[in-house]
């Protein structure tokens, strides 16, 4: 599990489907990924199949979950789809493991926000450090402001010569 950062970049396709990123913040990630990795997510019309890594939200819980689909039941005529997920290294699936809401047996199309399509290692560390140590954020902003205030305005110097 991790939490979604608000980086939304259009994916360059005609319909500009947003490409989300998610940063792996847990030390022991359910998908056996390393802390600090960035996961790229994308959502398209392709049907959800066993093996896909999906991101979903559970009603009442704030943090979205990134787990793998282990069961799919798709009704005739694509009417509805029922999906069961599980983190790769977890022993129990998400229904037994208490990840789903109480009484919830399956995930359906409306719960699933995206599918993981790739990784970028290490780039997530900046965000993790900033979030877990807010003081670093303030120090950085303070330092940048200081640089801005103390930098010489060369444009002004040029103008004064022309006068």
């Amino acid at each position: 599990m991790g939490f979604i950062k608000d980086a939304m970049q259009p994916a360059g396709s005609l319909r500009a489907r947003p490409l989300l990123t998610q940063i792996i913040t847990l030390e022991e990630d359910p998908l056996n990924l390393t802390q600090g990795d960035i996961l790229f997510l994308h959502m398209n019309e392709d049907p959800i199949r066993a093996g896909d890594i999906v991101v979903f939200n559970i009603k009442g819980k704030t943090i979205p979950v990134v787990h793998r689909v282990i069961q799919v039941h798709e009704q005739q005529n694509n009417k509805e789809i029922y999906v069961l997920t599980k983190g790769d290294i977890n022993k129990k699936d998400d229904r037994l493991g208490g990840i789903y809401g109480s009484g919830q047996l399956w995930l359906q199309r409306q719960h699933i926000m995206g599918r993981a399509i790739g990784f970028l290692p290490y780039e997530g560390w900046v965000t993790i450090v900033l979030t877990e140590n807010p003081i670093v954020k303030y120090v950085l902003i303070g330092a940048l402001s200081l640089v801005l205030i103390t930098s010489k305005d060369r444009g002004a110097k040029q103008n004064s010569r022309l006068v």
Binding site: N32, I70, V72, H73, Q76, F119, P121
Partner: protein
């Protein structure tokens, strides 16, 4: 124009751009790899097939799962996630996929394996359609890279059929 701050800025920008470029190239290099995997899945025994209290059918199988996925590993591979799914069609659902077993393969050396096992996860239907049901056993593998795009593929073994009556 040549202040320390300016130079640091340019250096950092170039470094990040270069890192991103290297990650893209690393990921592209994965497309050059043409894997030649092999898999052999056999159902050795149907242990039991019964109806649960909630009305859903459940079956327990003993299987032998053998595969050689060493050719799916590249220098840019972090791990390969492999799983075996039973796939079948019923009157209500045109597709049911149930994962029966999975494993995380952390290195190329461990990618040639042979497991004799009962199903790791419960083979439960959404209903009671398993008697006499025909099904496929598909071995899927998902290659998770150190950086870049994930690849996946599968091998389908057809021709399995469950017993006509509860066992």
């Amino acid at each position: 124009m040549h202040s320390f701050g300016y130079r640091l800025n340019v250096l950092l920008t170039q470094a990040v751009t270069l890192l991103a470029l290297m990650c893209v190239i690393a990921s592209l290099s994965d497309t050059l790899n043409v894997p030649s995997p092999s898999a052999d899945v056999r159902v050795l025994h149907i242990n039991w097939l019964h109806k649960q209290r909630n009305g859903n059918d459940e079956v327990s199988l003993t299987m032998n799962i053998s595969a050689d996925l060493r050719s799916t590993f590249t220098w840019n591979t972090k791990q390969v996630f492999v799983f075996l799914a039973a796939e079948y069609e019923t009157e209500k659902n045109h597709l049911n996929q149930i994962s029966l077993w999975d494993a995380i393969i952390p290195s190329k050396e461990q990618a040639k394996f042979s497991y004799h096992t009962i199903n790791k996860y419960r083979f439960t239907d959404q209903g009671n359609n398993l008697r006499g049901q025909e099904y496929n056993l598909t071995l899927h593998w998902h290659v998770m890279p150190k950086t870049g795009k994930m690849f996946s593929d599968k091998v389908i073994t057809t021709g399995y059929r469950l017993p006509e009556t509860y066992v």
